[in-house]
Structures are given as C-alpha cells and as structure tokens.
Amino acid sequence: MQSGLLSSLIILPLIASMVILLLPESYKGSYRWIALIVQILLLINLGTLISGFEANHTGYQFLEHFEWIRLTLGKTSILSIDYIVGIDGLSLSMVALSVVVFFIANISSFSINKKEKAYYSLFLLLTATVIGCFVAIDFFLFFIFFEFMLLPMYFLIGIWGGPNKAYASLKFIIYTLVGSVMILVVMIALAMSNVDEFFTSEYKRTVFSFDFRILSDQANLLKGSLLNIENPIKIFGVNARDFMFILLFIGFGIKLPMVPFHTWLPDAHVEAPTPISVVLAGILLKIGGYGLIRIAYGFFPDIAINYGLLISIMGLISILYGGFNALAQKDLKKLIAYSSISHMGFVLLGIGAFNIEGFNGAIFQMFSHGLLSSMLFLIAGVLYERTKNREINNFKGLAKTMPIFTVLVAIAFFGSLGLPSLSGFIGEFFTLFGSFQASTIPKVIPILGVLGIVLSAIYLLWTFQKMFFGEFWTKEEFKNNLTDLDQKEIIMLGVLGVLTLIFGIFPNILFDLINPTVIQLF
C-alpha cells in the first residue's frame, strides 16, 4: 500500500516554500501563517503516522517506492536509484522530533522581521530536506537530502545571523561538506559492491542498488568487489571495509559533532538566529547519530564491533571536553552549545557499547536532547530578544521579575543535568548502563562518563544560581525590557517542557517504538 503519507511530509513544505517564493511582496504578512499552517499539517500527518504505526512489526513501514533513475554506467552496468521512503521505529522517533521542533522553531521565527519571504521559503525547504533525510531508504536519496540541507542552513545563518555570521556560516558549510564528501565515498563504494539480484536478471546487466534493504544484507555483496568480506581489498594498508567505516564515522562525527571536529558548532550557534539554533541543535545534530546507527552500524556491523572502544573513547572525550569548555563560558548561548557537544557525547558512548541498552539509550538521548536543547536555545533567545545581550554576568535575580520563565528554565536545566523524572536522565542512564554492560569496554570509560553528568550539574546549576537567584540586578538599559514571557514563548517552552516531563516519566512510549528496530540490528 502506498499511502503517500511520508511523501506528504516532504512535499507539503516544498510546495509551501515555492508558494511563498512566488507570492508577491504585498502578501508579506501571510508568509509566517502559511509556514505555520504547513507545520500544523505536518503535526496532523505525524499523528496519523504514529497511530498507524505497528510497533511490533520489524522492518520498514509506510513504504513508498517509485523507480527514479536508471543510470547507465558504461556498457555493462546500471546504477539503480529509486525514490523509496519508509519508516521504522528509529526514523519515526526522529521524524516526530523534527516535526515538533520545526513547529516550535516556526513559532519562534515570528520574531524575525527581515526579508521574511526568503526566510520562510528557506525554512520550509530545510524542513522538507531534514524530514526527507530521516525517511529516505535509498542511500542516494538520503544523500541528496543530506547535502541539500546545507544550503538553506548556510543562508539562514549567513543572512539572519549575528555580527560574525559570514565566518560562522562558511565554517559550518565547509566542515559539513567535508563530512558529506566522506559519506559520498562510502555511498559510491557501497553501491558499486551491492547488486540487486532481481533487477540484474531482469535487465541482463549488473544492477547496482542504493536501497538500504539491499545494502544492509551482506548476501548481496558482489564477489571480488571493493567491499566484499571474503577477500578484503586493502586501501593504504587498511581493509576497505574498515576504511569505509572510519570514513562514515568521521563524516557523521562532524555532524554530531564529535570532538575534535566540533569547532564549527559553537560558532554556528552563537551567530545563528534563535529558531535556527533550535533547529540546528534540536534536529540537525541528530542526523549524525541517525546516520551512524542506520548506515555505519547498519551496513558494517562486522566492522563496527571492532571499533566499540574507539567510539566510546571519542564519546567520552566529547563528554568531558564539552563539559569543561562549558564551565568556562561567559556567553549563555556558547555554554549551551558546548553542553550540546557534551550531551551528544553520550550518544557516541551508547553507540560504542554495541548492545541493546546502549543503542536504546543513544536513541533516547538523541530524542531527549532534541527537546532539551531546543528549550535551552529558546531560553537564550528569550533573553537575547529582550536585551540583545547574553552575558551570564549581566543578569542576576531574574526569578523576581520573570517567575514563569524561571520555572521553565528550571525544567530545561534540570532536565539537561539529568534529574530523574525528566527525559535527560533516561538517555544518560541507559547509555552509561549499556557502556557498563559491554564486555569490550573497560569500566573506566563509563565511570569517567558519569563525571560528565557531574560537570553538567556544575555549569548548569552555577549558571542558574548566578542568573536567577539573589537580588535582581542587571544593567540599567536592560531593566525595563526584562518582562516575563509572553503567550507565544509560554507555548513554545511549555510544550517542550511538558514533553520532557512525559518522556521522563513514561520513557516506554519511546522505547516501545524503537526497541524492535534496535533488536533487529543485533
């Protein structure tokens, strides 16, 4: 059955983006509403998707399959590229996260009043590509969405960003492009090694396929090809499969971001406007984790098992390095950016454990970090919008003048530092638990990982105390601007706060979705 539900998630924002682009300037006021209506439609579609999703069913659901390109490669072979979309538990959780975060970010975008036409069409384009990335089941299609995400992002940071936007946007695009180039190498190598048996007999020519389902089945590997398992081909003295796995690890690691490839992230965050920061931290980073699980582990499980230790160590370094850096920050947004690096380190730790607990934890951590970091960046945005300043030292005793804000900040901060009953705890707990369980990983790594939680408690509580408690004090020019949240902000932060609570208290809602997918990986 081809329901078109998943395609609608991609096509609706695309169409809306075109419509906004073509609408004359006199309809300026309507752009934001068109975008918001599309986001609401996406939410409704998401609801249908979740209600129709059979959690116990393994494999992809809501499949849509259209033949797209049969690219002739020389005389003897064909590259078959199809439009295939589908979801399993992993992608569903990510799609759900993206739809929610994009909805929130869209509300947050209402404060943007410069070149709205370009802004909203780029924003919707970004929505389409990100969702496309999560639902694509064809590597080629995935890659197109993955690459195409860069351009809207580049312009969104580059046009609407802060003073140093040119540098930040360029750094972002070059880092990510280098990463995606590595992924491209693997994509070509994988496709040139995997044969679609069915179409090969049909066309009488070797048909190479990009279909995830074919790539993940090692029976389809062509004998003598680059990535075959029996006769490993060496590249610079390294087995080709190992080589490709490392490329994928670095490629997605840049996106994640993993220390030492993280330096684009603080710059991009500091310069990006609030809604774009929200999208960047809330969803774009998750594509790195998603790619690692779906592609690096899905297609190279035989290799991945040997690299658990390396990945865990990289995760640990990210956790500690991000945490220590966050301690030293004076700019609230930069602090949150470094805390993002630290928290995404847990994802690597969970993935490196290579067991069911670790993977569940990693996916849960991605989901919860999506909610929490969105909240955190909205919080930074709330202050920035009122004062055009984000220095932590410029604010004291905000609790007196902004009580609602304080409550929501408390939820976000405590959620991030891993207070039980909030979603951050579950993710971190399960990744650490998985890491302790893994036989290949020395216990010292998860033990040091726990230190990351302590670090995040230090910097978040410290910040909270400095900014919100004590006598109200701030610079004279800010005093009159510091009013409590308006309705729009309460909705945005409230929705995310409630979701954090729900998933903190009932983590099974998510675990039930992702568990069958995770079990299938092993």
């Binding site: 682009l21 690219l71 690459e147 580059g158 046009i159 040119a166 360029l170």
Partner: protein, 481 residues
C-alpha cells in the same frame, strides 16, 4: 587513379566540414562588402552553424559502428567524433545567442575566427593522425590568439601575448613529441597496428616521457596544469561570450583526443595523467580561493574542472571513458551558464569584481536563485547535474581501484572529493555577495527580466537533467568507443 578515387569518395563523407569551409569563405566576402555594423555576418554565421549542426547530426545515419576511415587514414569518423562535433556546434550556437542577447557589437571577423575554431575542432574530433591533430590544433590556437587580441585594450594585448607565447611553446613541445613518435613508430597514425608494433620495442619510461611531450599541446587546450598559466589572464580580459565558448569547446575536444591516445594503449599513461590530475586539482582550487574577480575565478575553476574530467580518462581494464564524456556533456550547460551569469552580473554591477555584486540578489531574488543553482552545479552538489557528473567520474575511480589493486586511486578519490569540498568556498562567494552582503551604494539596478529568464533556462536544465539523466546517459552510452 585509385588514390584519386579514394579522395573523391572520402570527400563525400565530410559534408558538414565542406559546408563550414565554403561558408567561412563566403563570410569573408560578406564581411568585406558590408558596412562595419552590419548584422549580416551574425545572421549568416548563425545559419551556417545551424546547417553544420544539422548535417553533422543527420548526414551520418548509415555510419558503420566501427567507424569510417577517410583519406587513407588521415581522418576517422565514428559516433564519438559526431557526438563531440555536435557538442561543439551547440556551444557555438550558445555563443551566438549569448552575444546577441547582450548586444555585443562584434566585428564580422570575430564570427570568422569562431567558425575557424569550429572547423579546427571538427577535424580534431575526427582524427588519430599526428599531423592532422597538429594542424587542427594550430588552426584553433591561432584563431584563439587573435580572438583574445581583438579587443583594443592594453590588457588584452598582454593576455594575447602570454597566450601566444605559452601556446607556441606548447605546440613546439608537442611537435617535438610527434617527431620522436614518428622516429620510433615510422607511421604518423597512432591508432594503427604497425605503429603499436614498432613502438613497443622502446622502454615504457621513454614512451611516457614522449607521450607527455605530445599531450602537452592538448593539455594546453584543456587548460590543465602545468600548462595553465595563460588561463586567468585570458579569461579575465576576453569578452565573456567568447571566453564562454573557449572555456568549453577546445577543452571538450582536447579530452577526446587524450581519450583516443589512452585508448590506443601504446603505453601506460596513467602515471602521466595522475600527475596532471593532481596538479590541476590543487593548482586550480587553491588559486581560485584567492580570486576576487569572477571571470578569473572561473578560469581557475576551469583548471580544476579539467582535472575532474581527466579522472574519467584514466585507463583500466574496462575503461570506456563514460565518466569523462558524460562530464563533458554536463559541463556545456554548466560552464556556459556560469559565463552567462557572469555577463549578466557585469551588466548589472558594471564590473567583474565579486565585491561589486553586493545586494544584486536581494533586489532580484530569481537572479540570486539562479546564481545559487549554477554555482552548486559547479561544486557538484545535488540536485544539479553537476552532482551526477562527479558521481560518474568518482564511481569510475572505484572501479579502477578494484581492478588495478592500487591504493593510488582511492587516494585520488578522496583527494578529488576533498577538492570538491574546498571548492564550495570560492563558488559560494558569488551568491554570498549577491544575497548576503548589503550594498552600501545603490547598484545600477535594472531588472533585466528577459536575460534572467534565459539564465533560468540554464538552471532549469541543470536540475531537470539531474532528475531525468537518462537522456544524457543513453546518448553518451551510444557514443562510447
């Protein structure tokens, strides 16, 4: 008598060239009897190129698949040469339309020179004979030198002299290579069996060096490093439509001849080609990073693109040059679109400096969008055909690496891709200045809707070919060796 008979029959098979040749002679007469600003040379050239394209497409319906030898073995027509002749003809048409749309007032001589280049390339595409190659390249080169010098400015003379000196040196080196080949092979046609037999007694190193000398002249036309030093100056000062044509046509046919040499397989040329590719990629990309002038930047980008194209020419057990030919096919709309964009930007901002494009894209968002698409195609990002071209070339390296069991190719793969990633920095400068930077002094704003629309055809073509590449891939598949 027999020879005469052969000359007569052979002459029947090169009808397009006859048409072109007679047309060119007629054009000279028209130019000399018309007033200076007459439109007839343009109209006549247009008709002539159309006639040439038409005959080059439809005259050869019964061409045997293994090709046709003419005039002994001087000329050789096969599907591949037809393909390249058509491409060059199309690019000439694009040149003519481009110069018309921007109301360039070219003298009749310019059309004469362009048609001479077309004639030269047409013969170059149809031969494996050293002498014909040399003569054809000289015809192309000398016409190009004059084309660069026709604009009466000091910078043009400087560029033309540079072009001439480097060109003449390359020709001399090439001729030296040819003479060595003749000494070793005793015949002048490198595709012939006797040539292969008598040449194979020499050591591979000698053959590689001699091939490098011979190919030098071709690399000069392809604008591959280290034969590239004329490129930036010439690109900067020459009229945009002319350089748009020169950036594509000689490069395309040059690659064809390199491919024929590689195909003849008298020695392993991969080492030579790899050297050229590595140097071209690094020189082109690194130098382009620092450019502030769009046309100069496009010149350096052309060097890097030459490196990418040559990747498709590397020889493996199953090489069919598919990647290179497909790349060239896509390079036509990409590069000529880029120069069209450059011309349009110059018209709006009054200069080629990228700094001066500030704010143009904000006033005219569709122009900005077009710039983004064309530059993406040059980088090789989806969803443009540039991505498909890069995909083909790089998948051919993977095949090569599998077959040759050598890590060099994987190194090349990663090196090439990293170069593609770096290149986004300088390509994105154009949309960056157009869309992101605010302009302080108001640009001389006239929307040029019609020209933007024409440019949009280029961008739409780039995207459509990405979504439906079958047309291009099937076309190229038919013309492989």
């Amino acid at each position: 008598m027999k020879e005469l008979q052969e000359i007569l029959t052979s002459s029947q098979h090169i009808l397009p060239e006859w048409i072109l040749l007679l047309g060119i002679l007629l054009l000279v007469i028209i130019v000399s009897f018309q007033k200076k600003d007459s439109k007839w040379p343009y109209r006549f050239s247009f008709l002539l190129v159309l006639a040439y394209t038409f005959t080059a497409t439809y005259f050869y319906e019964n061409l045997p698949s293994e090709g046709l030898k003419l005039y002994g073995d001087l000329l050789f027509i096969d599907q591949t040469s037809l393909f390249f002749k058509q491409l060059v003809a199309i690019s000439t048409i694009v040149f003519l339309i481009h110069s018309r749309l921007f109301q360039y007032k070219f003298d009749g001589e310019i059309y004469f020179l362009i048609l001479c280049i077309l004639l030269g390339l047409s013969f170059l595409a149809m031969t494996t004979h050293f002498l014909v190659i040399y003569v054809a390249i000289e015809l192309v080169s000398i016409s190009s030198y004059v084309l660069v010098a026709t604009k009466n400015e000091k910078t043009n003379f400087e560029a033309a002299i540079k072009y001439l000196i480097f060109g003449a040196t390359s020709s001399a080196i090439m001729l030296y290579g040819i003479s060595l080949f003749y000494g070793m092979g005793h015949v002048l046609n490198f595709a012939e069996q006797t040539f292969l037999e008598s040449i194979s007694t020499n050591s591979p190193l000698v053959l590689q060096i001699v091939s490098f000398l011979f190919l030098g002249g071709l690399f000069f036309k392809i604008a591959a490093a280290p034969f590239h030093s004329w490129v930036p100056d010439v690109y900067e000062v020459t009229s945009t439509p002319i350089i748009s044509f020169l950036s594509f046509a000689p490069k395309a046919v040059g690659v064809l001849v390199v491919a024929r040499v590689v195909q003849a397989n008298f020695t392993d040329l991969n080492a030579v080609l790899l050297l050229i590719i590595f140097v071209s990629l690094i020189v082109g990309n690194l130098a382009a990073l620092w450019q502030t002038n769009l046309k100069r930047m496009l010149g350096y980008s052309g060097i890097a693109q030459a490196g990418f194209i040559l990747i498709g020419v590397l020889k493996g057990p199953q090489t069919d040059f598919y990647g290179a030919f497909f790349y060239i096919l896509t390079y036509l709309p990409i590069t000529m679109g880029a120069f069209f964009l450059a011309d349009l930007l110059k018209k709006q901002s009054g200069s080629d400096e990228m700094e001066d494009f500030k704010g143009i894209g904000q006033k005219n968002i569709f122009l900005g969008l077009n710039a983004v698409i064309i530059m993406m195609a040059l980088v090789g990002l989806p969803p443009t055909i540039g991505f498909m071209a890069k995909l083909m070339v790089f998948s051919s390296i993977i095949n090569l690496g599998e077959a040759m069991h050598s890590s060099v190719y994987y190194g090349l793969l990663i090196f090439g891709l990293l170069n593609a990633a770096i290149s986004i920095y300088y390509y994105l400068k154009v949309p960056y200045f157009m869309l992101i930077k605010k302009s302080y002094n108001q640009p001389r704003y006239n929307p040029d809707f019609f020209l933007t629309l024409v440019l949009t055809y280029f961008s739409i073509a780039l995207i459509i070919f990405f979504l439906y590449p079958d047309f291009g891939t099937e076309w190229v598949r038919k013309v492989l060796f």
